[in-house]
């Protein structure tokens, strides 16, 4: 039976792991390579690195981080943040990432998804989507970009379908309403997208307790759940999370 994945997300700024609430007030959490290796040893199923480096001159630092991570951990990991061209995708994949996540840049240029899928296959192209509850949209959710600061005209469900048709092989679905609240994932949004799409959906935003993961993996029908601060600050260990999930009937890798 295919297991539900627990994925740890690291926001990386100029080569250091950082964490802020709603993309603000960032604090330094450490070396992303050392953190990746520690989570690997603790049995994380996958990692996601978001490069939130603002200046384009310092983006090369991330490629070096990717290369060093790939030499030390032997599980799939995904890299996102600012990838705007096929060349950017290629650089990250050749440095050793299994997947790339395309977010704002895919909204601005949907063909980027198709180009990436043609180069490396759909399994390597992840759509990162930030969504905001909005009753005026057909699905009830609007796509936002630039870390939630900019509203688009896109409906979340319609955009997810379009991205899948263009070749995205997975969706990381981040609820801007829930992000940073530690009050639980946005279950209706996750269930809506996961049931409508034939590709895996990774729930993101709002994790505070292992029960939140159980709820989004069972009720929310997510294939995987992303966690960040609840493990970065040592509130829970990965084994505590996985023990809880296994004890509540969720198939996880032990």
């Amino acid at each position: 039976m295919l297991q539900k994945r627990v994925i740890v997300c690291l926001d990386v700024k100029e080569g250091r792991t950082t964490k802020g609430i709603k993309f603000e007030n960032n604090v330094d959490l450490g070396d992303p390579v050392e953190m990746a290796e520690a989570y690997y040893r603790q049995g994380v199923d996958e990692l996601v690195f978001y490069d939130i480096t603002a200046s384009s001159e310092k983006r090369g630092i991330m490629i070096d981080v990717v290369r060093r991570v790939a030499e030390r951990i032997f599980i799939p990991f995904c890299v996102g943040g600012g990838l705007a061209t096929a060349q950017d995708i290629k650089a990250v994949i050749l440095a050793g990432a299994e997947k790339v996540s395309l977010n704002s840049q895919a909204v601005k240029n949907p063909d980027l998804i198709r180009q990436g899928a043609r180069l490396y296959g759909s399994q390597s192209i992840v759509l990162g989507m930030d969504a905001l509850a909005d009753p005026s949209m057909p699905s009830g959710y609007r796509v936002v970009i630039n870390g939630g600061r900019t509203k688009t005209d896109l409906d979340a469900l319609a955009w997810a379908r379009q991205a899948h048709e263009l070749g995205a092989g997975e969706i990381v679905l981040n609820s801007i309403d829930a992000d940073g609240t530690k009050a639980g994932y946005e279950l209706p949004l996750t269930k809506l997208i996961s049931e409508a799409l034939p590709i895996p959906v990774v729930a993101s935003g709002g994790a505070g307790t292992p029960e939140h993961l159980r709820a989004v993996l069972q009720e929310g029908k997510a294939d995987a759940a992303l966690v960040a601060s609840m493990v970065h600050y040592g509130t829970y260990s990965l084994s505590q999370i996985k023990d809880y999930l296994a004890g509540h009937g969720v198939a996880v890798r032990r």
Binding site: L2, D45, E71, F74, A224
Partner: protein
Amino acid sequence: MKVGILDYDAGNLTSVENALRHLGAQWVLSGDPDTLKDTDRLIFPGDGHAATSMENLRSRGLDQLLVDFVARGRPVLGICVGSQIVLDSSEEGNASCLGLIPGTCRRLPGGPGLKVPHMGWNAVHFQTDHFLTTGVPQDSSFYFVHSYYTVPDTGVPVLGTTDHGIPFVVGFVQDTLATWQFHPEKSGEAGLKLVDNFLKWRP
């Protein structure tokens, strides 16, 4: 000992190289049969489409290299699509494949709650005691990404099975040719142990 990795535009091979580096192996990554023919054993990876992979292998003369390698009794490890196209054929693009081991590949049926591709971690049940699985706990989990599954003919020794709606074979071995459908190079310590066992295998 030198390991050859077949490079034929079938996906990114960085993770295979990183695993070999970690295990202290020496390797050569090449798409040239002349460069690969004098290596001691081959890793035959693959991502993507069976029919396209076969075209890429044939255009480089690598199909014949694999046939010769197995005939000379040197170990070969097929991974992912590399495990599929050692069989006679695949439903994917109605591909005629290498025919090194009798069998075929079929599309995973999927179903309610069963997404295809089968992507993520799944437990593998080892079917025999084999050197290649020495030291790896029974029902360990490995990382899969695939839409087609292997159906070797009855009589081909099966190394392991898993299930995704249906049970299916995820590894088999005949003479000096062994395969894994999942990615051992991306499957944590259990996966690295399988790669290490292959490097030490003397069939």
